[in-house]
Symmetry: C2
Subunit: 206 residues, 2 copies
Amino acid sequence: METLPDKTVERLSQYRRSLNNQLAKGKEHIFSHEIANLLHITSVQVRRDIMLIGYSGTLRKGYDIKELVDLIGKILDTDEGQKIAVVGMGNIGKAFIHYLYEKRSKLKVVAAFDVNPEKIDKSYADVYCYHLDKLKDIIAKENIKIGIITTPPQVAPEISDKLVDAGIKGILNYTPKPLSVPEGVYLEEYDMITSLEKVAYFVKKK
Amino acid sequence: METLPDKTVERLSQYRRSLNNQLAKGKEHIFSHEIANLLHITSVQVRRDIMLIGYSGTLRKGYDIKELVDLIGKILDTDEGQKIAVVGMGNIGKAFIHYLYEKRSKLKVVAAFDVNPEKIDKSYADVYCYHLDKLKDIIAKENIKIGIITTPPQVAPEISDKLVDAGIKGILNYTPKPLSVPEGVYLEEYDMITSLEKVAYFVKKK
DNA sequence: AAAATATTGTTATTTTTTTAACAATAAGTT
DNA sequence: AACTTATTGTTAAAAAAATAACAATATTTT
């Protein structure tokens, strides 16, 4: 399939979560406007996204939730699952580990790294924390392809380089320090303070 | 001034941070392409954003960093500063508090709320944590206008309603549970897992 | 003094994303 | 059996965002 638009990929992730909730409640079919209501978006958007992934519902029952969830899984997941490394065992690093722990997901955090002796050589939610020096070895050995950077911003570029050097193909950068990565590595950056300043701006404006 | 585009607001927040770093290094003027390099975007985008906020540089020196920072401050900040409440004293809540602590910013977390007795009636980074029952009183008394929701997702809608009822005008929702708020309240939603699934999808695609 | 250069500010174009419009149609209703 | 209704799937249009193009011009070089 063609690569899907960015925003559609984001929504697919959200559709899946909501649909799984509905499945858990015993619901088997759902209309586009019901999905839309759950996520507070429009039904047109839902139908368009579903069209883009090539799924069809029926006119009177809408979409088969199970089938749709499975299809989204085929699109977002890989069969073997994807392994993740978290670099930086602070609040955010822990939040990611905690979040993915127990959640039945194809995404698994399989290693964490830090330099603080108090955090190293311990497990948090079944994830073992290694010294940063071991990064390349562990990532190679475990064949990890995705890294999350949750370190202090100053060291983020250095961590990014190490991850790329170790063979990582996707980075989620949670520090406010912008990174650059070579062609072939996907980079997603997110800045908590920017989100907050945005809210503050629009509050001020009203 | 007209309300700025969403994305421009986000970038202004990032320009300011980078520009402050440059100021700290003793740099006084900067060219659009230098800002662009710092943030890994294009210089056209930088110039366009700066045009939108009505600032002008000079042809040979570029932009006066101090002036630009001050102007961005005028746009993003309010003179009195803005007070923030954090609801949910878990990893993410702590991360926000910690982040804004010590950072010289007009945004101040002035209260946190939780229901866990172990967290209540203590301070974390100078922010006092109250029982959720006190939310309305404290928000009214302190005249807080911005709330961050970092609770478990199930309770997010209830918290959101309470915040709105207490007079909050902007909400940053960090739970994966989509919220809806009345007209006049600005809502920004962010989902950590969606970010990660997006990275995973594009890694898979490559 | 003329030419070359580097940079801004702004308009035009392209791309991406969202929203609207509507034909097709399955199921229920008269 | 014809009519109504509710919904999908898809094309068309609009809106938002990013990128390109380029005129204007201050400074430096020749």
